[in-house]
């Protein structure tokens, strides 16, 4: 009896970008009707490999077999013809087109649009019933949520008759409920005989849905195993190349006096939307308060007011002294002088200037530091560079080169630069938003350790994250925000993901 041909077989794929070997002699077999996970840290070469499979890059060496047939894939057109569909991390959708227009783009049936649209509408209806991919064909992309946008991407691939579906970090933008729904859809697709490749750096997803998993590290495929025969600790070790602590190791908090006290904070944004509604909380010394919630429920605005770049009303005191919420002293500079350091949620937009070098970025917010001044007129660049080099050393930023532009570091190392800049100032209060978004597992462990270490030094830490696991493992107390309000406070040891999930969805737990 002969085994069926693998849906995808890659043999000896290599690809270099200049001196960087992104893929080294990679071979992989994916059987039809399975979900195959590819896991690895950022920059391990997962995306490059998939881009080769989708015709974005040409491999320097190696062969691709689709359903046992040797296939050349010089461009996306060829990939589509070979039955490969790809759902990119950043969706490739035309924002002001309707769902239907996006689906037919590139596979129109003729010169006129109308027949294609009519046909696609019918087929879409069928597909959405078959796979529970519910979308409104006439909705405009920019007006629908990311969950639905992702379903449109999957429909696009299915409409192109894809039998092989590649998903690149699909859950990065989804809420836990949306991710569950996506996994249900992927399960349906597997039942129908589709082959799915799931690229992710989240171990939990791999364990939950895949049949087999390949691990990549530094451009090489280090292992391919059956998911049932492995466990998260082993995968993490294969990814990073050393043992990794998946649980945050911390001693019970010894909270001291109240450091940060927020009373009746209200924020209305430029569009006139009431974002933060009567929020009150406090954080004591040596304590981490985690704010959980689905993105867009006022957490960002809360951080922005505390960080000094959004206006609000209410009372905020640090060590008993009120800070200005409006006027001349309500900016980031003044906040830092009062001992509030801030690691913003979006490091690329708010935390760093991507085109500036690491040392320039390290000076941001602390320009007036006397150590950075040569004299009244000039800054001491050499001193800043030396200081940056030390920080990079201590925070294990790779490569430890202060002259390199921020954009040339990987996500995890960029985040370390920002965290190093803020933590090394020894602040009384640390505001930290999405500390590990898009950060690889090794760096997550490191950043978590730093946050806990700062807590143990008796600092007050406000942690905002959409990752419930992170909130659960780091926080000493958890507050859940929904629609601008704090729905309730819980202690991590007395609650669970289900209860927090209900609060995040706006269901008041106390009443039940």
């Amino acid at each position: 009896m002969t085994a069926p041909a693998p849906a995808i077989e890659l043999v000896g794929i290599s690809k270099a970008f200049g001196p960087v070997q992104a893929n080294k002699d990679i071979s992989i077999r994916v059987m039809p009707g399975t979900i195959h996970g590819i896991i690895g840290e950022n920059g391990a070469g997962k995306s490059t490999l998939m881009s080769i499979l989708y015709g974005f890059y040409k491999a320097d060496a190696g062969e691709v077999f689709i359903n046992g047939q040797k296939t050349e894939i010089p461009d996306s057109q060829a990939a589509i013809a070979a039955g490969i569909g790809m759902v990119f991390q950043h969706f490739k959708l035309v924002e002001n087109f309707t769902v239907l227009e996006n689906v037919i783009l590139g596979v129109e049936d003729g010169f006129l649009l109308r027949p294609s649209l009519t046909k696609a509408r019918k087929e879409l209806k069928q597909l959405s019933e078959e796979y529970e991919l519910h979308v409104d064909p006439d909705a405009v992309i920019e007006e629908i949520g990311v969950g639905m946008q992702q379903r449109v991407e999957i429909l696009k691939a299915l409409y192109r008759q894809a039998d092989i579906l590649i998903l690149d970090e699909p859950t990065g933008v989804l809420t836990p409920a949306e991710a569950d729904q996506l996994f249900r859809i992927l399960g349906r697709l597997r039942e129908e005989g589709k082959t799915i490749i799931l690229i992710t750096h989240k171990l939990r997803e791999i364990m939950e849905i895949t049949d087999t998993v390949s691990v990549m590290r530094r451009g090489e495929m280090t292992a391919t195993v059956k998911t049932a025969e492995t466990d998260p600790a082993q995968l993490a070790e294969l990814m990073v190349g050393r043992k990794v602590l998946l649980q945050v190791d911390k001693v019970p908090a010894k909270p001291g006096d109240v450091i940060l006290d927020v009373q009746n904070l209200n924020v209305t944004d430029a569009q006139g939307v009431h974002r933060v509604k009567n929020v009150s909380f406090n954080i004591r010394a040596g304590e981490i308060l985690g704010i959980a919630g689905v993105a867009g429920n006022g957490q960002s605005e809360l951080l922005e007011v505390l960080g000094g770049y959004e206006k609000g009303t209410g009372t905020i005191t640090v060590n008993g002294q009120p800070i200005d919420l409006t006027g001349k002293y309500s900016d980031g500079q003044s906040r830092r002088k009062r001992g509030i350091a801030h690691v913003p949620e979006d490091r690329q937009r708010e935390g760093l200037v991507m085109n500036f070098s690491a040392w320039e970025n390290t000076a941001f917010g602390y320009h007036s530091d006397p150590r950075y001044q040569k004299n009244v007129l000039f800054m001491d660049h050499a001193a800043i560079k030396a200081d940056t080099a030390e920080k990079m050393e201590r925070f294990d930023v790779r490569p430890p080169n202060p002259l390199l532009a921020a954009k040339n570091f990987s996500g995890g190392n960029q985040q370390k630069i920002v965290v190093a800049r803020e933590i090394e100032r020894n602040p009384d209060v640390l505001l930290i938003g999405q500390p590990t978004r898009g950060v690889d597992i090794g760096a997550i462990e490191f950043i978590h350790k730093q946050i806990v270490a700062l807590r143990d030094q008796g600092k007050a830490i406000l942690l905002v994250s959409v990752e419930l696991d992170e909130i659960m493992s780091l926080s000493d107390r958890i507050a859940v925000m929904f629609d601008g309000r704090i729905m309730g406070e819980r202690l991590p040891q007395d609650t669970n993901v289900q209860e927090l999930g209900l609060l995040m969805a706006g269901v008041q737990g106390d009443a039940a």
Binding site: S51, Y54, I80, K92, L112
Partner: protein, 328 residues
Amino acid sequence: MDLLAFFDIAVLDGTVRLGVPLLLACLAGLFSERAGIFDIGLEGKMLISAFLAAGVSFTTGSVWLGLIAGIMASVVLSLLHGLASITFRGNQLISGVAINFFASGITVVAAQAWFGEGGRTPSLSGAARFESIQFPGALTRIRDIAKADLPMKVYSELLSGHTIIVYLCILIVPFVWWTLYRTRFGLRLRAVGENPGAVDTAGISVYRMRYSAVIICGVLCGLAGAYLSTGLQAGFVREMTAGRGYIALAALIFAKWRPWQALGATMLFGYLQALAIRPDILERAIGIRVQTQVLDALPYVLTVIVLAGFVGKAIPPRAGGEAYVKER
């Protein structure tokens, strides 16, 4: 005050004549910018076409050959812009400005070398020029028209007596609209200006779409330029485009990159230009003497008002002005 003077037939007739080159240039810009290539070089392309159309028409005695030459010259500049901004991913504004400077200089130098008349072409007449088409029974002499009743005036002056390009222009707006919103080409064109990544991953060549768009832009600019020197005027004079390329860009923003609105915007701006050459009519209409410079400035003032968001929001194509680079 005689508000009816605003609807003076001569001014309306002038609106059509002056609005047509604006409309053609505006639609040229529409194709290019909808595909994500900003084109500040409409002016230069019109200018080179105006010159070559007049020069070739005069030399060969055929305005059609002149028209073809003008369009070809304009397309060549378009391809240059495409090469700089699509293939070499250069800055689209700089490339456009360079084209404008180049056209402004080369037309005068070449005209001087060719005809030796101080950077202009000789006057065109007969078959070297687009003749006005007279409708049957239309009055041609100004004296007769002045004495005629209103329907006859409208028929003879406003409707009759334009060149073939003007009449073709009536068809072009619905055609552009249809192409943009009802055809596969239009869908892909709009997509490539909004999100080239989506087009690329759908297996369509971003380069080919964008080059098609700049070529169409070149053809329409060429048509506009040729009309200036062989239809509206009889010959080329230096800088004869007189900022029309920029007014067309303003109209494009005013119209928020949509074809029917482009017709409205260019006709409004054409009307202002027509009014500017007849200050007497404006004075009769509002009873105050207005400097023509004020009228000349009005298209820009109106565009700034639109841009400032007083009349809804003008959102340019999202990928406009950016070269497409495949990302990992």
